[in-house]
């Protein structure tokens, strides 16, 4: 029987770097030394295409036969058409390929795996390219001293296809949504609720510094409380669904908001004895790209043992999603 499997993962980080002031107390707690920032000419499709090209370079067998593109971004090239349509053309994929954008932030990668699993296991796609592309830096005021040091830009590409095995390789999905927290992370202006130009955008001065409604705003306290409240419950539910104990996990790769938060989330989830990816030093919070960038970091080093990897995404929405991934069916790499 065929089940959807992650076959290849690669990331892309734009070359331009912004460094945080590591003498600052908050920057030290974040654990973010530097962030990659897209240049003014780069759009979501540019980052996504470069991530896909990195994937094809690293896994030469991945290029052929892709029949579906899923693209997660909250900074699309245009309000319309969908960025995934642009990407299909730029990657030279056939016109028979399906293409779909979806808008999610830090939970977006796990949602993408769920959508991909559905399409592949329903027989609607044989070989699917899941792309995430995040350019939060584009919409954050440089004068917002709380939010600007947190986010970096980045993209990822993941190849998912059916593999002939006896049990699911992507499993135990758990989803959650709390729309009451919609304003905890929000970019109020620029959509149909408050179009740019519909009203003057006054500067808002607060304990973050200075920003407008066209900038991304994040209420750090609310996001921290939401994370500590929901993520441990999600982890319990994934383990229960999978029938696994913590000791049986090969790795845990969570969304990477910052080092401080992850340290405590790991503790609240009772995962201190599980290999736990926590490394934002050179990337910052790359939103929907953070989990696949983490996977790319651990795959080369641990491939044989990565059969039970717990994934957890959580953030803007408020939205969260997690699952268990078996990464033991990766394609051979060329480097």
């Amino acid at each position: 029987m065929g089940f959807a499997a992650i076959r290849a993962v690669a990331g892309y980080l734009p070359p331009q770097i912004e460094r945080n002031d590591m003498t600052d107390r908050a920057a030290q707690a974040l654990g973010i030394e530097e962030r990659h920032v897209a240049s003014s000419g780069q759009a979501a499709s540019d980052l996504a295409v470069l991530a896909a090209e990195n994937l094809f370079h690293k896994y030469p067998q991945a290029r052929e036969g892709i029949d579906f593109v899923l693209l997660c971004t909250q900074q699309p090239d245009y309000p319309l058409p969908s960025t995934s349509c642009v990407v299909v053309e730029r990657l030279g994929l056939p016109k028979s390929a399906g293409a779909l954008d979806y808008s999610l932030g830090c939970s977006g990668y796990v949602y993408g795996l769920a959508l991909a699993k559905g399409l592949v296991e329903a027989g609607l796609s044989r070989r699917l390219l899941l792309l995430t592309s995040s350019l939060y830096s584009r919409s954050i005021s440089s004068e917002d001293k709380a939010t600007a040091p947190v986010f970096g830009d980045g993209a990822s590409a993941t190849l998912i296809e059916s593999v002939d095995v006896e049990k699911p390789l992507l499993d135990a999905f758990v989803f959650g949504t709390d729309g009451k927290g919609a304003k905890s992370i929000i970019q109020e202006a620029g959509g149909s609720r408050l179009p740019i130009g519909s009203t003057p955008l006054e500067r808002i001065e607060d304990d973050h510094g200075s920003h407008t409604k066209a900038d991304i705003f994040m209420d750090g306290q609310e996001v921290m409380l939401f994370t500590l409240r929901e993520v441990p419950l999600m982890v319990e539910e994934i383990l229960k669904k999978a029938g696994l104990s913590r000791e049986e996990l090969s790795y845990a790769v969570f969304h990477q908001p910052n080092r401080f938060m992850l340290d405590y989330v790991q503790r609240k989830c009772k995962l201190q004895d599980v290999p736990f990816f926590n490394d934002v030093r050179k990337t910052g919070n790359t939103v929907s790209a953070s989990i696949p960038l983490g996977l790319e970091s651990i795959i080369g080093k641990n491939e044989k043992t990565l059969s039970r990897v717990l994934l957890a995404g959580f953030g803007v929405g408020l939205s969260w999603a997690g699952c268990l991934a078996d990464l033991s069916r990766m394609l051979p790499t060329d480097r």
């Binding site: 709380a146 304990d207 750090g220 306290q221 609310e222 921290m224 409380l225 500590l228 441990p232």
Partner: protein, 74 residues
């Protein structure tokens, strides 16, 4: 009072006794909040979870004392 000591370990220079809203008064940021939760859990051997992780429970001394009381800490 142990609770006040915990808060003052985070920021010795702030007056937590008179503030009615630590967040609005800028006495606690998101990092401090996590440190506070961790310190309460460790000091009083309890686990603060689920709906208790609400800003209202951490906004001032009265709210924190109420939270501890619900955990049987007097």
């Amino acid at each position: 009072m142990k609770l006040l000591e915990i808060l003052q370990e985070i920021h010795p220079q702030f007056d937590y006794e008179t503030s009615q809203d630590f967040f609005a008064d800028g006495l606690i940021d998101s990092f401090d909040l996590t440190r506070l939760i961790a310190a309460l859990e460790e000091e009083f051997d309890l686990s603060i979870d689920g709906t208790e992780l609400n800003a209202e429970n951490f906004k001032n001394l009265d709210a924190l004392q109420g939270l501890l009381l619900r955990h049987g800490v007097k």
